[in-house]
Symmetry: C2
Subunit: 199 residues, 2 copies
DNA sequence: CGATAAACGGACCGCGCGGTCAACTTGTAC
DNA sequence: GTACAAGTTGACCGCGCGGTCCGTTTATCG
C-alpha cells in the first residue's frame, strides 16, 4: 500500500547539501537569504530546492526542527544535573552557540505556519520551563522570573553581539554572562512590570 | 545668492504627515515597511514621498536623526544628575521608550550610508560612554562593563519584548530591569569574554 | 545492457518593491 | 484675478524574489 521505495542516492546527498548550505546562508545573511543563493551554495539548481522543500518556509522549518530538537535533547539531559543553576546556564550557552546564528527569532515565526515546528517548539519551551523551575527552586534564580522570561531572553545575547562589527564570534558569551547575572537572586531589584502570558 | 523662498504651506504639512506616518509604520512593521504603505497612511501619493526624501534610506535617516537627537539631548541633561546610576537607568528607559519601536538596530544600519546620521550617532555614543563612565566611577556599575557594551545592550529589552505576543506594551521595562540588575556591581561574576572594540 | 521512473536544472512567471516622470493641480505674489 | 513656480500624483520601469514547469539527465533494477 504505502510501499515507498528508498530515495535515490544523489537525492539524499543533495538534500543534505541543501540543509547545510541553507543553515550557513541563514546564519550569515539572516532569514531573507534568497533561495537562489542557497541553491548555488549547495551546488544544485533552484528547482531542486523546491523538489525537496515545496516552500522556502518548509526549508526553514526543516532546519528549525533540527535545531530545536538538539536543544530539547540537551535540555532534557541537563534536567537531572546536580547544579540546576549551572545546568540552566549551560543550556543557554548551547542555545546561543548553535552555529552562532544571528538570532533564533525565526523560531517564533516558523512555528506559526508549520504544525511540526510548533509542536517541537512547545516541547522545547516545556523543557526550558522545567530547567527554570528547578533552578529557581534551588535558589540559583531570582524568584520573580518565569520560564517565559527566559525563553524570550534566550535570543538576546546573540542578537546583541551581532551588531558589534569587528568583534570576536564569541562575544555573545559576554552578554550571556551579564544577562545571567541579572537573573541571579543576589541583589535582585523588584521588577516594574509583571511577566508576560506564558508561552 | 542662495536666496531660497520659504516652502509652500501644504508642502510642510505633507512633510510632517509623512514623517509621522513613516515613524508609525516603521514602529509597527519594522524597517521593511513599504514606501507605498507609508504614503497611503500619510494620505499622499507615492511620488510625494520621493519628492521630500529622494530615497527610502533618506526617509529613515530623517527619522533616526530626530530620535538620536532627542536621545543625545536627554543624555546630556542627565550627565549632571546627582545619582549617575539612576541617570543611566533613566537614559536607557528613555531610549527604550521611544515610540516603543521594534528595535533601534536600524541605527547601526542607517549610519553606514548617511554621514549626518553617522555624526549624530557618534555624538549619542559619546554621551552613552560618558554616562557609563560616570556611573561606573560612582560605583553604580560593575567595573568590567564598557560604554560599548551598554550601547549594544540598549536595544535588547525592546527586541526581546517584541516577541511576546499578547503582552503589555511596557514589557520592555521588565527586561530592562533584569538587564540593569546584570549591570550592577553587586554579585557580578567575571565575564568570560573581553569587551568588543569601541564603537 | 536497456528501460523506466525519479531526480535535476534553469528558463520562465507573477508579484511587490524602490524609484522615475510627465501631466496636472495649487499655493503664492503682484 | 492671473501667472507661474512649487508641489502633487499615479502610471510606469527594472529588478529580484518565491515558486512553476518541462525537457533532460541519471540512479536503479531486471
Amino acid at each position: 500500500m504505502t510501499d515507498t521505495r528508498p530515495p535515490r542516492a544523489d537525492a539524499v546527498r543533495n538534500r543534505a547539501a541543501l540543509l547545510s548550505a541553507a543553515a550557513d546562508e541563514f546564519a550569515e545573511r539572516g532569514m531573507d537569504a534568497s533561495v537562489a543563493d542557497i541553491a548555488r551554495r549547495a551546488g544544485v539548481g533552484k528547482g531542486t530546492v523546491f523538489r525537496h522543500f515545496p516552500t522556502k518556509d518548509d526549508l526553514i522549518a526543516a532546519i528549525v526542527l533540527d535545531r530545536v530538537g538538539e536543544l530539547t535533547t540537551a535540555g532534557d539531559r541537563l534536567r537531572d544535573a546536580a547544579d540546576p543553576g549551572g545546568a540552566l546556564l549551560e543550556f543557554l550557552t548551547i542555545a546561543a552557540q548553535q552555529r552562532q546564528q544571528r538570532d533564533l527569532s525565526f523560531l517564533h515565526v516558523a512555528g506559526d505556519t508549520n504544525a511540526a515546528v510548533a509542536e517541537a517548539r512547545d516541547q522545547m519551551y516545556r523543557t526550558v520551563h522545567d530547567l527554570v523551575d528547578r533552578a529557581r527552586t534551588h535558589g540559583a534564580l531570582r524568584t520573580d522570573v518565569t520560564g517565559t522570561d527566559v525563553i524570550l531572553l534566550m535570543c538576546a545575547p546573540n542578537y546583541v553581539a551581532s551588531y558589534a562589527p569587528g568583534a570576536s564570534p564569541d562575544l555573545w558569551r559576554r552578554y550571556l554572562g551579564i544577562l545571567f547575572d541579572g537573573l541571579r537572586p543576589q541583589g535582585a531589584h523588584p521588577l516594574p512590570e509583571p511577566p508576560p502570558p506564558a508561552l
